[in-house]
C-alpha cells in the first residue's frame, strides 16, 4: 500500500496538503499580525494597506521583558499554573481511576454530575469564590487562585483521565492483585505507567486553562499575585502607541507555552491518538 506508486492518490495527497497549508496559514494570520506589529513602530503598525517592508525593532520586546514587571507576573502565572497542574492531575487521576473501576450504573451519575459542573458558567462561580476568599482572608494569595482553578478544571481532568483508564483492561488490575499487589500498588506500579500519555494530555490542558485563565485571576488576585493575562490586559488600550507593546506582551505570554508544547510534543501526539489504534 505505497502511496507513491499511485499517481491519482499522490495528487489527492498533495491537494490535501496544500489545503491544510492554506488552512494553517489563515489560522496563523492573527499571530503573524501580532508578531509583525510587535516588531513595528506604532506609526507603521496602522498604515493601510499594511506594510510588509519596515524597519523591524526589538524595542518593544525588550521593553516588555525589562519594564512593566512582566517577569514578576510571569512568575505568578507559572506558580499558579504549576500549582494547579500538580494538584489537578494527580487528584483527578485518582478520582478517574476509581470511577473507571466501579460498576457503570454508579459511575454514570458521578460523571453526569461532573459534566454539569463543567457546564456551569464560571462567571457565576467567581463571586462565591470571592466571598469565600474574603471570609478566609485569602484574597490575593496563591492557594486561593490555585484551588479555584483546580475546582473548575477538575471535571475535565476527570473526564479525560476516565477515558484513558477505561481503556486499560481490568484484567491487569486483577493480574496485579494475584501477583501480590495491594490495590494501591496495582494502581501505582501497573496502571499508572500505562496512563502516562493520558496524564500528559491532562496536564497540558490544565496548564493551558490555568495559564490563560482571566476571570478568576482578575477577581481573586491583587498586586501580589496578579497573573500575566490580567496584567497584559492593562498593557494596551489607552493609546495607539501601546499596541506594539501589547503585541510584544502577547508574544511573551505565549513563549512558555510554546516551549512546553515542543518539549511534550512526542507524548502529546501519542496521548491524543491513544486508543485510536489497538497497540
Amino acid at each position: 500500500m505505497s502511496a507513491q506508486s499511485h499517481p491519482g492518490r499522490q495528487r489527492t495527497t498533495w491537494l490535501i496538503f496544500i489545503g491544510l497549508c492554506l488552512f494553517t496559514f489563515v489560522n496563523l494570520m492573527p499571530l503573524l499580525w501580532a508578531v509583525l506589529t510587535s516588531l513595528k513602530d506604532p506609526r507603521d503598525a496602522f498604515t493601510i494597506p499594511p506594510t510588509l517592508i519596515f524597519e523591524p525593532t526589538l524595542k518593544y520586546h525588550i521593553e516588555v521583558w525589562t519594564e512593566n514587571d512582566f517577569v514578576f507576573y510571569l512568575m505568578n502565572s507559572l506558580i499558579v499554573s504549576a500549582g494547579t497542574v500538580f494538584i489537578s492531575v494527580p487528584a483527578g487521576s485518582l478520582a478517574a481511576y476509581a470511577i473507571s473501576r466501579i460498576p457503570r450504573r454508579s459511575a454514570g451519575p458521578i460523571l453526569s454530575a461532573l459534566f454539569t459542573i463543567r457546564m456551569f458558567p464560571h462567571m457565576l462561580l467567581a463571586i462565591p469564590f470571592f466571598v469565600m476568599g474574603t471570609f478566609l482572608d485569602m484574597i490575593d494569595t496563591y492557594p486561593l487562585l490555585i484551588l479555584a482553578l483546580v475546582a473548575i478544571n477538575q471535571p475535565f481532568t476527570i473526564w479525560l483521565m476516565h477515558g484513558f483508564f477505561l481503556e486499560i483492561p481490568r484484567d491487569l488490575d486483577e493480574a496485579a492483585a494475584i501477583d501480590g499487589c495491594s490495590n494501591w500498588q496495582a494502581f501505582r506500579i501497573v496502571i499508572l505507567p500505562l496512563a502516562k500519555p493520558g496524564m500528559t494530555v491532562a496536564a497540558l490542558f490544565s496548564l493551558l486553562l490555568s495559564y490563560n485563565e482571566f476571570l478568576f485571576a482578575l477577581v481573586l488576585t491583587g498586586t501580589d499575585t496578579k497573573t500575566l493575562p490580567v496584567a497584559i490586559a492593562a498593557f494596551g488600550g489607552e493609546d495607539i502607541s501601546s499596541w506594539s507593546l501589547s503585541a510584544a506582551g502577547a508574544i511573551g505570554i505565549m513563549l512558555p507555552i510554546v516551549v512546553v508544547m515542543l518539549l511534550l510534543q512526542r507524548h502529546l501526539v501519542r496521548g491524543l491518538t491513544a486508543g485510536a489504534v489497538k497497540g
Partner: protein
C-alpha cells in the same frame, strides 16, 4: 501444591444469584476442569477461588485454611487469564518476575527463577521483548510462565486456549498437561470445550445454571453420566437421547415416534417403563439381525464416518471407525450392545440406577 475445598459456595450479583451452593473437593495435585455451557458460572467460581469476587456465602479452603475473606495477594494462587493480561510496559522477564519482585525476592533469585521457567516454556530468547512484540501463542506461554515462577499452591486457568488457533490449541493442551505432570500443582481449569475437559482432566466438574451437575473422572462421566444434561454434554458427536418406553420383553425399546430397537440383553429397567434412552454414536454398529433403519446422511471426517440414521422417523447419529460401503437412502439394520445403553428417568432426568 495443596488440596482445595469449596463448601456451599453461593454468589449473587445484586439480586441475581449465579452460583447456588457449590461443593467441590479437589485433592492435592489434581487437575480439575470446570466445564459447562456459556453463562453457567464457571468463571465466577474461578474468580471466587482467586478472590477477585467476594463470596456471598460458603467457604473456600486452600490447604485446610479458610481464604474466603483474604485479598487475592494473600491466597498464594496464580492465574492465567483468557486475555493473558500481560503488563504491556514490562518485558517478558519483568512480567514473569513481577510476583517475585512484589514478594521482595532478591534480583538474583528473580533472575534464576525466571530463567528456569523460561527454559521449561522455551521462552529463553524472548525474555527482553515486550508483550506487543509476541505472537498469540508466545503471549500465552508468558502468561503461563508468570504463573509457574511463583510456585503457588493452586493454578487457576480461565479458558487459556480459546484465543489460539485449533492446531496450537491441541499442542498447548498437551504442554499444559505435561507441565502439570512435572509440577504436580493443583490446577483448576475452566473451559466450555468438553474435548479439552476430557483430554486434560483428572476430575471434571460439569456445571449448569450455577449448579454442579456431576463430578467425576472423564471416563466416569463418559460411561455413567449422572443425568441427561451430562450425557448430552460430554462426548462428541453428542449422545443420542431417545424418548420412549421399555418393551414388554424388557429387551427392546419402543420409540415415542414409532418403531422399535431390539437389544441382545435385558435393558435393566422394568418392562413398560417410560425412559430416556441414551446411545453413544460410537456404540452403534450395523448388524444383519439388528433393528431396521435407513441411512439419511453420510459425513466422512477422514478418520471416521458420521452417519445419520432414520429409525421409523427418529434420527439416530452413528460414528463408524471402519470404512463401510454404504450409501444414502440404503436400508440397514443397527445394533447396540445392551450394556452400552444409558437409561434416564424422563421426569427427573436422572440416571436410572442398576444398569
Amino acid at each position: 501444591m495443596a488440596p482445595l475445598t469449596i463448601q456451599q459456595a453461593t454468589k449473587s450479583f445484586g439480586g441475581l444469584q449465579v452460583l447456588h451452593g457449590i461443593d467441590i473437593d479437589m485433592n492435592d495435585g489434581e487437575f480439575v476442569v470446570l466445564v459447562g455451557p456459556s453463562g453457567c458460572g464457571k468463571s465466577t467460581l474461578l474468580r471466587l477461588i482467586a478472590g477477585l469476587e467476594d463470596i456471598t456465602t460458603g467457604e473456600i479452603r486452600i490447604d485446610g485454611k479458610g481464604v474466603s475473606r483474604l485479598h487475592p495477594k494473600d491466597r498464594d494462587i496464580a492465574m492465567v487469564f483468557q486475555s493473558y493480561a500481560l503488563y504491556p510496559h514490562m518485558t517478558v522477564a519483568e512480567n514473569m518476575g513481577f510476583s517475585l519482585r512484589m514478594r521482595g525476592e532478591s534480583a538474583e533469585v528473580q533472575r534464576r527463577k525466571v530463567e528456569d521457567a523460561a527454559n521449561i516454556l522455551d521462552l529463553g530468547p524472548l525474555l527482553d521483548r515486550y508483550p506487543r512484540q509476541l505472537s498469540g501463542g508466545q503471549r500465552q506461554r508468558v502468561a503461563m510462565g508468570r504463573a509457574i515462577v511463583r510456585d503457588p499452591k493452586v493454578f487457576l486457568f480461565d479458558e487459556p486456549l480459546s484465543n489460539l488457533d485449533a492446531k496450537l490449541r491441541v499442542q498447548m493442551r498437551s504442554e499444559i498437561r505435561s507441565l502439570h505432570k512435572a509440577l504436580k500443582t493443583t490446577i483448576v481449569y475452566v473451559t466450555h470445550d468438553q474435548i479439552e475437559a476430557m483430554t486434560m482432566a483428572d476430575k471434571i466438574v460439569v456445571m449448569r445454571g450455577g449448579h454442579v451437575e456431576q463430578i467425576g473422572s472423564p471416563m466416569t462421566l463418559y460411561d455413567a453420566p449422572a443425568n441427561v444434561f451430562v450425557a448430552g454434554f460430554i462426548g462428541s458427536p453428542a449422545m443420542n437421547l431417545l424418548t420412549g418406553r421399555i418393551g414388554a420383553d424388557g429387551r427392546s425399546f419402543e420409540l415415542a415416534g414409532g418403531g422399535t430397537i431390539r437389544f441382545d440383553a435385558p435393558l435393566g429397567a422394568a418392562a413398560g417403563r417410560e425412559v430416556i434412552l441414551g446411545i453413544r454414536p460410537e456404540d452403534v454398529t450395523l448388524a444383519e439381525d439388528g433393528s431396521p433403519a435407513t441411512i439419511k446422511l453420510i459425513e466422512p471426517t477422514g478418520a471416521d464416518l458420521h452417519v445419520n440414521l432414520d429409525v421409523s422417523g427418529t434420527e439416530v447419529t452413528a460414528v463408524f471407525h471402519e470404512r463401510l460401503s454404504i450409501e444414502e437412502g440404503q436400508a440397514v439394520a443397527l445394533a447396540v450392545p445392551a450394556e452400552r445403553v444409558h437409561l434416564f428417568d424422563p421426569e427427573t432426568e436422572a440416571r436410572i440406577a442398576g444398569d
